[in-house]
């Protein structure tokens, strides 16, 4: 979207692209119109048994305040990949200037820091 007026907010996400992202499932619909769009593309069908099993899990979570229902964790494959990239950069460190080397050092330290035992959130 191009800027028409100096005080107007701009958005690089065109409406047609946002719409398509919602239909693809990449963006969670948060308005009634977006829900309509998303529903037309939905394929998941949960059986009554699956719904019932999910509700039992929900009740357990409600009864246990310590259950924070962790559903997201960092992709392990990506972490490994990042560490390998950092290791390669460290091997070629003699060719890097001080500032870059310091940045790499910081990244390496951060990447090598052990995650807590329960790293699944």
């Amino acid at each position: 979207m191009t800027k028409k007026y100096p005080h107007e907010d701009t958005d690089e996400l065109p409406p047609a692209l946002r719409k398509a992202l919602i239909e693809c499932g990449a963006v969670i619909p948060t308005t009634p119109k977006e829900v309509l769009l998303a529903e037309r593309q939905q394929k998941t069908k949960a059986s009554p048994d699956q719904v019932e099993a999910a509700f039992q899990k929900l009740e357990l979570a409600l009864d246990d305040p310590t259950d924070d229902l962790s559903f997201a964790k960092i992709n392990d494959a990506l972490l490994t990949m990042q560490n390998e990239d950092l290791a390669m950069a460290a091997r070629n460190g003699m060719e890097l200037d001080e500032e870059t080397r310091a940045k790499i050092e910081e990244s390496v330290q951060r990447a090598l820091r052990k995650p807590p035992p329960d790293s699944e959130l």
Binding site: E12, P15, G25, P29, T30, K33, Q41, L58, A61, I74
Partner: protein, 258 residues
């Protein structure tokens, strides 16, 4: 007996809430006949008394029965597209209902007693809860894997009255364009897909373009390993690339419809 034989106010006043609460104890446990707005009210207005809690749980069970398949589908779509983070769709859906139960009192019925509108409104409301939950989970990952800075997150779960994008219509995007976008998304590196989804979900249009709130930006930097300026450049390139790939298909479709 149904709780919604009379129109339910947007937000019950204190006296109305007292009446509703007193009436709750005489309600039938047959929640199947209850409207969506009625279920939300039964959950939101329930006090600590065991009988009221039991009714609230029954209302939750009915809400869950009606909307779990929808929420699961949303969670699955979201988890399939996220590159840098693994999301358990079933756990995500369950967490969404847990928070919905806890925040039911914040739901405002704007359906004007139209059941179809009410369904869409509840789904949109659950969508806002799911989006906020995913934002919190991503921030939690940042705190576990990186910096220790904790940013209090603003909790907003009301469904906006107006569409955030005025031009958005509800005509489906042509299948060919969806397929092309799907292929384009699949071809992206995980971190690039993360940038795209994070900006699309949490970005806010400003005078200088779409910007991320601080916690979302820091979290994205942590997950992708990119500097802030690189992330911004990648976001711009990604939207231009995807728009360029979609535009010919959309143009062809528009012309063939004329």
């Amino acid at each position: 007996m149904s709780v919604t034989t009379l129109p339910i106010p947007h937000k019950p006043s204190v006296s109305q809430a007292v009446v509703i609460t007193l009436n709750m104890q005489s309600l039938s446990m047959d929640m199947g006949r209850e409207t969506d707005a009625g279920l939300m009210l039964l959950m939101g207005a329930a006090g600590p008394a065991p009988e009221e809690q039991q009714i609230a749980r029954s209302a939750l069970q009915e809400l869950h029965r009606r909307y779990y398949p929808y929420v699961l589908a949303i969670a699955e779509g979201y988890s399939e597209n996220f590159g840098t983070v693994e999301i358990d769709a079933k756990e995500f859906a369950t967490a969404t209902f847990k928070r919905a139960y806890e925040r039911a009192a914040s739901f405002e019925d704007k359906s004007k007693a139209n059941p179809e509108h009410a369904k869409l409104q509840v789904k949109a409301w659950l969508g806002v809860i799911a989006r906020n939950l995913s934002r919190d989970a991503l921030d939690k990952i940042r705190r576990r894997h990186g910096h220790l800075e904790v940013v209090p997150l603003q909790e907003t779960i009301d469904v906006p009255d107006d569409e955030p994008i005025p031009e958005m219509d509800t005509l489906s995007t042509p299948t060919a364009a969806i397929v092309a976008l799907r292929e384009a998304l699949d071809a992206l590196k995980p971190e690039d897909r993360d940038i795209l989804m994070t900006y699309a979900a949490f970005g806010i249009p400003t005078k200088s373009g779409r910007e991320l709130p601080k916690e979302a930006r820091d979290s994205l930097q942590e997950r992708t390993g990119y500097e802030r300026s690189n992330i911004r450049q990648k976001w711009l390139r990604l939207t231009r690339k995807l728009e360029a790939e979609l535009e010919p298909i959309l143009t062809t479709q528009r012309n063939s419809n004329k």
